[in-house]
């Protein structure tokens, strides 16, 4: 089987299984607050790690300056509670302009 399809199907099956636990038990079980905290923190840690590696690295090397600078612009927009589309387009636009100006 195609590796990308296998990835999509595995992720889909696992995610559906997670989602079905609660409805199948029909609210008879609750998650201890500590476990719920740990799951939320774990998700945040993964997202921030992806954000950091996606911003700074390309393959095994440095991604260049234009990309992190653009993401920083996105971060400032997000901090100022700009709409989602503005954050994404602002980051991409800043990176594109910096590359146009010759920054790698």
């Amino acid at each position: 089987m195609n590796a990308q399809l296998a990835c999509v199907l595995a992720l889909a099956a696992g995610t559906y299984a997670f989602r079905l636990v609660g409805p199948a038990l029909h609210g008879r079980v609750t998650v201890p607050a500590r476990v719920q905290d740990l799951l939320t923190t774990g998700a945040t840690v993964l997202l921030v790690a992806l954000l950091a590696t996606g911003t700074l690295t390309e393959g095994h090397g440095f991604a260049g300056w234009a990309r992190p600078a653009g993401v920083l612009v996105g971060g400032v927009l997000a901090w100022r509670r700009a709409p989602f589309a503005v954050i994404v387009l602002g980051a991409a636009g800043a990176t594109a302009l910096l590359r146009l100006a010759g920054l790698p």
């Binding site: 590796a3 990308q4 399809l5 296998a6 990835c7 999509v8 595995a10 992720l11 889909a12 696992g14 995610t15 989602r19 079905l20 609660g22 409805p23 199948a24 038990l25 609210g27 609750t30 998650v31 799951l39 923190t41 774990g42 998700a43 945040t44 840690v45 993964l46 997202l47 921030v48 790690a49 992806l50 954000l51 950091a52 590696t53 996606g54 911003t55 700074l56 690295t57 095994h60 991604a63 234009a66 990309r67 653009g70 993401v71 996105g74 971060g75 997000a78 901090w79 989602f84 589309a85 954050i87 994404v88 980051a91 991409a92 636009g93 800043a94 990176t95 594109a96 910096l98 590359r99």
Partner: protein, 234 residues
């Protein structure tokens, strides 16, 4: 009287709640467009984001899996990252499990619609009828908005040529900033510490380990939180 079965009606919810739900759909549509465009522009075939959005239907996990795939991390690391992110849907499901309806059909279909947003909207309602209405109305519209957005984005993304020229490689981390910054803003200092340590570990490991692994290694950052709690601290 509370209805726990039968048809959900728009009139079950106050207009203010319906307006908030509609705003959420618009937001989902724009995030979906970004996902479709970024996935295709990063080199994946059009069907990957489209099929993934219908079957997986979880924004953060999809963005993460696609990031790992396009960074060359391989399908196992990509699926593992997405699955770890989605463990929290099990906790959401336990919280809203009794708001979906009594029939097995409602539970089997409703389970797929459990997201951060449907959980939040359902739990914000004061009684069982409104919780069920909020869950299904939010969920049905969100599913449509997300998948229509992804399809439109994927079609648009395949029309773009050289993606580095448009700075699209910065768009993906920017999406993650938009997703995670509101969470970090309200997070406990221990969560921020764990996230910062995890990021340092992942970036330090990136030159040495195969793509996908450094991000999973970041979970070592969780040790900070766990140890502090075990020690009786905040």
């Amino acid at each position: 009287m509370e209805r726990t079965h039968g048809v959900v009606r728009l009139s079950d919810l106050p207009s203010g709640v319906l307006r908030d739900i509609a705003l959420l759909w618009v937001a989902d549509l724009t995030v979906g467009v970004s996902f479709g465009a970024i996935a295709v522009a990063s080199g994946l075939p059009l069907w990957v984001p489209v099929v993934m959005s219908v079957l997986v239907y979880a924004g953060a996990a999809q963005f993460s899996a696609v990031a790992v795939l396009t960074a060359g991390g391989g399908p196992v690391a990509a699926a593992a990252t997405g699955l770890l992110l989605n463990t929290r849907t099990a906790a959401f499901g336990l919280a809203v499990g009794d708001s979906l309806g009594r029939s097995w059909a409602a539970r089997l279909v409703g389970a797929h619609l459990i997201t951060d947003e449907t959980t939040a909207f359902a739990l914000a309602q004061p009684d069982a009828t409104r919780r069920r209405a909020a869950f299904w109305i939010t969920g049905a519209g969100e599913f449509v908005a997300w998948n229509v957005g992804v399809l439109a984005g994927a079609l648009a993304g395949s029309a773009l040529g050289d993606t580095a020229r448009f700075g699209l490689d910065a768009a993906f981390p920017a999406v993650l900033v938009a997703l995670v910054l509101p969470v970090l803003r309200d997070a406990a200092p221990s969560t921020r510490g764990a996230a910062a340590l995890g990021a340092v570990i992942a970036v330090a490991a990136a030159p040495l380990l195969p793509a996908g692994v450094p991000v999973l290694l970041a979970l070592l950052g969780l040790a900070v939180t766990v140890r502090r709690r075990a020690g009786g601290g905040a």
